[in-house]
């Protein structure tokens, strides 16, 4: 090849055959003697960086793993938090929009007098209001601790008159309380019956001696069914248990309660122990209006005796919770990103040492230190951006999978999608800065000797 290439070489230089000192190959285009400053186009810089990354695909992939995980965690945490927040807010909103509590304000202001400001037919007065689904009063009364007596009421009455040493488990009812309630209270609270029935108008209007037990009360007294017509005694008064609650809904205080028809409870045990409350379940969005109307519907002469508690404003609470939660989770994501940053920095630093020969070669070919710095920094930034893009994809997938698993509606801030690669770029730039600087400081002669 080379031996017969002389003619071509000569054509290339145009200087063959001279007996004088031979002009150099570049003499044909004799350049200015002024030294030229080395420079490289942005496109070439990018091409070189991309080529360097592409020629080591496995290493590049491993290098960006940390950033992928960090960005994925970043997107997934924010996405899942938003999704969960949506679910929580929905629940809060539902409660906010459908629950009104009316309290006996007169009793609150005058505890010694213990008046009772509610009418006997709270549910009947409130239900006609447009937007009310169910309503009922509830209050606790001062009464002797309840005692369970198995068997028929007649038999129970006989047993109840026995002395304390009759062997009955009176201690079982020690923690129980006695409450008066109405027919609508159960439905308004969203309570559920395990068995039996709830009070109806017949029980309320005719003062039937019947009782419903809260789940804890039923367990405490050992009542599992109403089919045997169990009877409880409150002092000397016997009550046939007609229902057992499985869930006391929005009124957890009724869990260990023996519930009696409200008029009968008041008639037998006097005014409520604490100010009575009425619970109103409304249609969505009607709660605030009902809160204004309810005191007038219950006692139009003295509406101020009854205070309607407006629905709680959950938005501030949820905002506070979300802010705290976000802060914590974003902190975790930041830690993941720092790990990614360290991974890129570490790998790039190792690459700088491994590629010393290449650094020397590029310097021999005219690269300035800043070109070497730019080369490694560009590679690092591209790796960071790739990590960010992959991380965003993985994060979105995690949000979708997590939401599907819980049958939630996925909520994702669209800004997260460009933000994740941007974070990746930042991570790449931060991680690459020191190794790139180190690379730019390698003396060319020393770098060329390292290979």
């Amino acid at each position: 090849m080379a031996k017969d290439g002389g003619e071509r070489w000569n054509q290339s230089s145009g200087t063959a055959g001279s007996s004088e000192p031979v002009p150099v190959a570049g003499a044909g285009r004799r350049r200015s003697l002024e030294p030229a400053v080395s420079r490289v186009s942005l496109r070439d810089q990018l091409r070189e960086a991309i080529a360097s990354i592409a020629c080591r695909p496995v290493r590049s992939l491993l290098t960006i793993t940390g950033t992928v995980l960090g960005c994925a965690a970043f997107v997934a945490i924010l996405g899942l938090t938003d999704t969960a927040r949506g679910q929580i807010t929905n629940r809060f909103n539902e409660l906010e929009a459908t629950t009104v509590t009316v309290v006996d304000a007169a009793a609150q202001n005058n505890p010694s007098g213990q008046p009772y400001s509610f009418p006997d037919d709270v549910g009947a007065r409130l239900r006609p209001l447009n937007g009310v689904v169910d309503a009922g009063v509830y209050f606790s009364v001062y009464a002797t601790r309840p005692v369970l007596v198995p068997g028929q009421p007649a038999e129970a009455a006989t047993i109840a008159n026995r002395p304390q040493s009759d062997g009955l488990d009176r201690a079982a009812g020690a923690s129980l309380t006695v409450w008066g309630a109405e027919g609508g209270t159960l439905a308004a609270a969203g309570a559920q019956l395990a068995s039996g029935v709830w009070f109806d108008d017949f029980h309320l209007l005719t003062g039937q001696p019947v009782a419903v037990l809260g789940p804890a009360a039923a367990a405490s007294l050992g009542v599992a069914t109403v089919r045997t017509n169990p009877t409880v005694f409150v002092g000397d008064d016997s009550y046939t248990v007609i229902g057992l609650l499985s869930d006391s809904g929005a009124l957890p205080e009724l869990g260990n309660a023996v519930l009696l028809p409200a008029p009968l409870a008041r008639q037998r045990y006097g005014p409520p122990l604490n100010p009575a409350h009425a619970l109103i379940r409304t249609d969505l969005g009607a709660a605030r209006l009902i809160a204004r109307q309810a005191p007038y519907a219950l006692d139009h002469s003295y509406p101020d005796n009854l205070g309607a508690i407006p629905p709680p404003d959950w938005s501030m609470v949820t905002d506070d919770v979300n802010a705290s939660l976000n802060g914590l989770l974003l902190g975790l994501a930041a830690i993941a990103l720092v790990i990614g940053c360290v991974a890129i920095a570490n790998t790039t630093l190792v690459a700088v040492m491994e590629r010393a020969g290449e650094i020397g070669l590029r310097q021999a070919l005219g690269a300035k230190p800043v070109h070497i710095l730019a080369q490694f920094l560009t590679e690092s930034v591209i790796l960071g951006a790739l990590g960010g893009v992959l991380g965003a994809a993985v994060g979105v997938a995690a949000v979708l999978i997590g939401s599907l698993a819980r049958q939630w509606t996925p909520v994702l801030d669209p800004w997260l999608l460009p933000l994740a690669p941007a974070v990746g770029v930042l991570v790449g730039a931060l991680a690459g800065l020191y190794p790139a600087w180190r690379a730019s400081r390698v003396p060319p002669a020393a770098a060329l000797q390292r290979l």
Binding site: W9, P23, G26, G366, P443, A445
Partner: protein
């Protein structure tokens, strides 16, 4: 009369230490266009320092060095890099090829830092690859080439920037004798074509084919009579 390519006046290089090492004693040296000079000497004699100073990879600690008429001691680091890229071609013993890039890409790397358009660089690269006889291996990766072929790629890369002077550091050091003969023949062809070549070598066969011989011992450079006209 043509101006010299390299003009040294009392150029010296001392590594500060301690202890200070005088790797290159004050030296006067002139390389003319078209020269083919072999730098010969034992290991540690200062050959590589001489070549590094010639190639602006190291700065002399004393003396004046004009390359292609440019006083190099006054150049900024960026200007030195620019001069390296535009006027000096390097050929290394260990080739220094980018193993994951094709032959064409390796050769086209020359001129990257000169802002030469990529199309121009690729055209020049194809041209010089043809000159060294590797056109059939244009798209091959260096790992698939023989040692001699790799060195020819490195030579093509050095030529692609159209340098004023070629500096070669043991270009046959990693080759067997047959491949060495090929490379020696290539250098002779280049010399006949007018290239200025300065070559560090242990290979007496190669040194004997050079037009000038510079013996280096303990940093002192002595020029032997021109061995061939």
């Amino acid at each position: 009369m043509t101006d010299p390519v390299v003009e040294w006046r009392q150029v010296a290089r001392t590594y500060p230490g301690p202890p200070a090492v005088h790797a290159l004693e004050p030296t006067d040296l002139t390389i003319w266009p078209g020269d083919f000079a072999a730098v010969v000497g034992p290991s540690g004699s200062g050959k590589s320092t001489l070549l590094n100073v010639l190639g602006l990879l190291n700065q002399p600690t004393a003396g004046s060095y004009r390359l292609d008429g440019v006083a190099t001691e006054q150049l900024t680091p960026a200007q030195r890099a620019g001069v390296r890229g535009r006027r000096i071609g390097f050929v290394f013993q260990s080739f220094h090829l980018l193993n994951h890039r094709t032959v064409l890409d390796n050769v086209a790397l020359a001129g990257t830092y000169d802002k030469t358009p990529r199309a121009t660089r690729l055209a020049r690269a194809a041209e010089v690859i043809d000159l060294v006889g590797l056109t059939p291996r244009l798209g091959a990766l260096p790992s698939t080439l023989s040692g001699g072929e790799r060195q020819r790629v490195a030579i093509a890369r050095a030529l692609a920037a159209r340098p004023t002077v070629l500096l070669c550091d043991e270009p046959t050091g990693n080759l067997d004798s047959a491949r060495s003969q090929e490379i020696i023949a290539l250098f002779e062809t280049m010399h006949q074509a007018g290239f200025t070549i300065v070559m560090v070598t242990h290979d007496e066969t190669l040194a004997a084919r050079a037009r000038r011989r510079l013996d280096v011992l303990d940093g002192v450079v002595r020029e032997t009579e021109r061995v061939r006209p």
